[in-house]
Amino acid sequence: MVPRPFVIKRFRKETDDTFTLELEPNEGRSRFAFSPGQFNMVYVYGVGEVPISISGSPSTHGLIHTTRAVGTVTKAMAKLKKGDVVGIRGPFGTTWPVKEARSHDVVVVAGGIGLPPLRGAIYEILANRKDYGKVVLLYGVRTPADILFKDELEQWRARFDMEAFITVDRAVADWRGNVGVVTTLISKAGFDPQNTIAMVVGPEVMMRFTALEFIKRGVKADSIYLSMERNMKCGIGLCGHCQFGPLFVCKDGPVFRYTQIKDLLVKWEI
């Protein structure tokens, strides 16, 4: 499988270390088809390839990747600009249960850089708003400076048919918003635990405790979905790197039902 060239039509710096690429195919072909929850292997010419969640909604946006510059490849990617070309292999992986969540309440919990993979799901849900019950977004970040997609958050908060709560781990003096870990927002959100689908992305510790908090509130374990991350080289289940117990995160995931993985999550070094 070889990377397809995609040109950066817009490069946006989101925060200090996070940026967004808006891409379109180099050869002017049709829109890139994917489902929320999936990821691409993104190739920086001559440097390497990394898995990045697809951040937009298939119907609203084109191909968007929001990522943090932490390693060799993403740091090289952070230096690209409009007009540069990256390689794309994908889309790979399992998807958010957007259809299955119809006629349920939906609680979306994002931690840190976890909001981009969920944005597509939120858009899909809002595009068919009447098919869902309550829709709640809980978003936790490190500090107020790390909040992503402020424009969208403001729009979502302004809507009457959706609740969006934001909290930070660490406040600065002029922050008047919530302070505290994102799990503390779960008890504040209005949703019917018996009829809720929860979708969670964030650092593994955060997802583990968030799932437990939902269980404590009465949400069924098979109604909670997590998006896992592991080292990936091929993205297609052939290189062995992303194994999580017997599961390949690239093809059995990255979106998993909590029941599939809850025992694996508490086994260290599994």
């Binding site: 010419y45 440097v47 390839e49 932490v70 592991r230 091929c234 052939l238 290189c239 017997p246 070094e269």
Partner: protein, 390 residues
């Protein structure tokens, strides 16, 4: 007893077979001696096989000895396995050249260039099972490996039924040998008493075509029976054994077994086991450019779950301890493989035992944990019985 058509060829006809394969543009790969071990390499004549040699294998020990006879295949598995040819250690995946449109990619791995057509001579039953297992890995999922499938479909397989068991072998207990049952073009059984000949079972039309060019005659019933006896005897004499049932329950329920700490204290994370294992398939990719940066290349290379980088993510390794890594390898090989591919991943070749520098024995490690599982299952069923009686 085989139901396939079986011929008898004299021992020196083996070379005729090799020459016929070469005439048909196969690169014949077979066992041959390099230094002090029997490895796999291209051979051009039967005289390059390790004639009259045998091996002594035990944990962390490998030694060649002379046999009393001139057997062509009187030894067991060496450090190489056939995955070197079907799933090469280094493979160029693609090249990319900078252009005004950014860059252009040429798909090397899929390119219609000449891929060596291999005739694999001397594939033991365990290794044949390993090939079938890798067929499932590389060809059984949604995404297949085209390079593997291409070499695989072209490969001509001459299997060899073992008439002698090795010190670290355990094919019979995991039901992969010593007899090769399916998936070969030809299968040889070497018989040496007063005479020296091979029985050749024909597995495919391709095999029949090749056989039609060498001097042969149909095998007699007593000859077939003699070979069967030898193979059955080998099955009894394997150096080790491993019970392959319920591996998932045994290993998934014992992730905190104290034995893991014992083996971790010995394991050097050297990755030898994964290199010699005929089914290990983990690989990594390397992206490089030339000095001017105008041409980039991606290469696939064998990797091992024993390296610290293997599970690196977000600034750290998911499996930083050798305990975590050893447990992952063994659990994958014997248990997770079943969930992923439908069978266990171990074929009982014994290479990991022989080539581990500290002599860790997979059959022994698994036995200890299995015993705990049996004890706890017995204990819980005993509890139920007494509860029922009281």
């Amino acid at each position: 007893m085989s139901t396939l058509k079986t011929y008898r060829i004299e021992s020196d006809t083996l070379n005729e077979l090799i020459q016929e394969l070469r005439k048909e543009k196969y690169v014949v790969v077979g066992p041959t001696i390099r230094g002090t071990a029997i490895v796999l390499d291209e051979i051009t004549s039967a005289s390059q096989l390790p004639i009259g040699k045998t091996d002594e294998q035990s944990p962390a020990q490998y030694r060649l000895n002379d046999r009393a006879d001139q057997a062509y295949f009187g030894y067991s598995a060496g450090p190489h396995s056939w995955k070197r040819y079907l799933f090469p250690p280094v493979l160029s995946l693609f090249k990319a050249k900078q252009s005004e449109k950014g860059f252009q990619v040429s798909d090397e791995a899929n390119a219609q260039k000449d891929v060596d057509r291999y005739a694999l001579l001397g594939v033991r039953a365990c290794d044949l099972s390993a090939i079938h297992i890798q067929d499932q890995v590389f060809g059984g999922g949604t995404y297949k490996d085209p390079a593997y499938l291409r070499s695989r479909n072209q490969a001509f397989i001459v299997a060899v039924n073992c008439t002698r068991a090795g010190g670290t072998c355990f094919c019979s207990s995991v039901r992969t040998g010593p007899r090769a049952r399916v998936g070969f073009d030809l299968a040889l059984s070497e018989v040496i008493d007063n005479e020296h000949y091979f029985l050749v079972e024909v597995g495919t039309e391709r095999g029949e075509e090749v056989m039609s060019t060498v001097s042969r005659r149909p095998a007699g019933d007593n000859e077939v029976e003699k070979a069967d006896r030898l193979i059955r005897a080998a099955a009894q004499l394997t150096g080790r054994s491993l019970e392959p049932d319920n591996t998932r329950e045994i290993l998934y329920q014992n992730t905190e077994h104290p034995r893991w700490d014992v083996v971790a204290a010995r394991c050097l994370s050297c990755a030898n086991c994964t290199m010699v294992c005929p089914t290990c398939f983990c690989a990594t990719v390397e992206d490089t450019t030339d000095l001017t940066g105008t041409e980039a290349q991606r290469t696939r290379k064998w990797d091992s779950c024993f390296t610290m980088d293997f599970s690196y993510i977000h600034g750290g390794s998911v499996r930083p301890s050798s305990k975590g890594r050893y447990r992952h390898w063994l659990t994958h090989k014997l248990a997770s493989w079943v969930d992923q591919f439908g069978t266990i991943g171990c074929v009982g070749c014994g290479r990991c035992i022989t080539w581990c520098p500290v002599g860790i024995d997979i059959t022994e490690e698994f036995r200890v944990i299995r015993e705990t599982y049996l004890m706890t299952s017995r204990a819980s069923s005993t509890k139920e019985t007494t509860h029922g009686n009281s």
